[in-house]
């Protein structure tokens, strides 16, 4: 299974080029937003602004949709465009059918941990404020978990199977596994697999109660304990296909969840999902090797249960461009082998390291690692296309 295109919406803008710029430019402070539950106090959030999700052409038929669905549709559309595959790019004319008959060959899988929770709480507030007879039907329709996936398929004229996968820690990994199964079964020729999360006051409150907000707005991914989180929001979509193409990013070689035999040989880089969403992230130390560089890009987009998708996008970009992107935050109290520059020196080699024959610039295999609070592990292996 190959990544043929990537679309992304995050706090620093829209599009894979924008994400690449963020990887090159490094860390920037998150926005400070007022929160209703903390009087005279602000909270750091990596928030997507309204300008980023204003697309008059694509969203013309989506005036009722919420922010979550808009982020999903824009990034899914950009993933199709980024693939450069003829007949798959959405038409600039919103009145015409976007993809036409090709739409029947595309499936949609949306991964999300909290889904449309903002609209769900709006809906509950409406019941409390006005009674169940006076609840807005639009709020209700946007509050259902499959709304974003439905908007993606209807706006982009996709007629393949459409599904939302929700699993607290590994939504994205399970969505990727499902995509692989659909492609192997030939249910679809292409799958748009994406992750989307939205920030809201209720979620912010829960984060503040259960986790430790970063006092300076910086997630420190290599601290492990204590951890610091800064809520993020956004969407990443990947266009997946069986065969690689001219513009393809990389191959998804394997997706492992739970108990499995470790597969370390030849890994050039570990990308870890540490972002303060676990109170103690020391468990990640089990997967880190002194022979393999480690990176974590959560300080660029924020803490999210589906942050794996953003880290995978970073890994896919590195494999396509054959270029390392330095860690955005370099605090390293445990002295682990973190990626500092864009051209790291060759390691000693051996199990899990760079082989002696590997050229300095070759990046062959990247492993994206995530742990749950129960120390359950998931890994996505990305390999360079040949």
């Amino acid at each position: 299974m190959n990544i043929l295109g990537i679309g992304i919406v995050f706090n620093r803008g829209r599009g894979i080029n924008c994400f690449e710029n963020a990887l090159q430019e490094g860390w920037q402070g998150p926005a400070e937003v007022e929160v209703p539950y903390l009087k005279n106090k602000k909270s750091f959030v990596y928030q997507v602004d309204s300008q980023t999700i204003s697309d008059k052409t694509l969203l013309r038929k989506m005036r009722r949709s919420d922010k979550l669905s808009k982020m999903a549709v824009l990034s899914a559309s950009d993933a199709l465009k980024s693939s450069g595959i003829e007949n798959l790019s959405p038409s600039p004319n919103p009145s015409s059918r976007h993809i036409g008959r090709e739409g029947e060959k595309i499936g949609v899988i949306v991964a999300t941990a909290f889904g449309a929770h903002v609209k769900t709480f709006d809906f509950l507030d409406d019941i409390l404020d006005y009674g169940e007879d006076s609840v807005s039907p639009t709020t209700f329709s946007n509050s259902v978990h499959n709304a974003a996936a439905s908007y993606v398929s209807s706006t982009l004229d996709i007629h393949g199977p459409t599904l939302t996968v929700t699993q607290f820690y590994f939504s994205f990994q399970y969505a990727m596994q499902l995509a692989r199964a659909w492609l192997n079964e030939k249910r679809c020729d292409y799958i748009l697999v994406g992750a989307v999360e939205q920030y809201g006051d209720v979620l912010g409150y829960v984060y503040d109660c259960k986790l430790t907000p970063a006092p300076d707005g910086r997630i420190k991914p290599f601290n492990f304990n204590p951890t610091f989180q800064v809520p993020g929001e956004g969407a990443v979509f990947f266009l997946m296909g069986r065969e690689n193409s001219e513009n393809s990013f990389c191959e998804v070689e394997n997706i492992m969840i739970g108990e499995y035999r470790e597969f370390k040989t030849g890994v050039d880089l570990n990308i870890i999902d540490t972002d303060g969403m676990l109170p103690d992230e020391s468990v990640y130390m089990q997967s880190i090797s002194p022979d393999i560089h480690t990176a974590a890009y959560s300080p660029l987009f924020g803490s999210m249960m589906t942050g794996s998708a953003f880290n995978c996008a970073a890994g896919a970009l590195m494999l396509k461009n054959q270029k390392y992107y330095a860690n955005p935050v370099l605090d390293n109290p445990h002295g682990i082998n973190i990626l500092i520059g864009n051209n790291p020196p060759i390691s000693k080699g051996g199990m899990g390291g760079f082989s002696e024959q590997t050229k300095r610039s070759d990046i062959e295999l990247i492993r994206c690692i995530r742990y749950s609070c129960h120390s359950e592990k998931a890994a996505i292996y990305l390999r360079k296309n040949h």
Binding site: R64, V135, T138
Partner: protein
């Protein structure tokens, strides 16, 4: 000072236009762009059946009015002016 009926009607029209633009997420339309006699559905402002349900809810929330007879609803929902007159004649309490 007590408002005249004409002033009250003008105020309801203004409130309705703001409410429709805000609560129906009418992008690229300002409240002042909506004419008092402009047809709200179909070829006019372009509202659809889901907007009609939304307006029923908005009338209930903001003016305590229930529109259950949809045949009558067609006349009431014809324009801002017909909506405003219906509200002025029937409202129980204004929020």
């Amino acid at each position: 000072m007590q408002k005249t009926e004409a002033q009250q009607l003008a105020q309801i029209r203004k409130d309705l236009k703001e409410m429709l633009v805000r609560d129906l997420s009418l992008e690229d339309i300002k409240p002042e762009d909506i004419k008092d006699n402009e047809i709200l559905f179909g070829n006019g402002l372009g509202l659809d059946s889901l907007d009609a349900v939304e307006i029923v809810v908005l009338l209930q929330r903001n003016y305590g009015l229930e529109v259950k007879d949809m045949e009558k609803g067609k006349e009431i929902f014809y324009s801002i002016d017909t909506l405003a007159r219906y509200i002025q004649e029937n409202r129980k309490n204004v929020s």
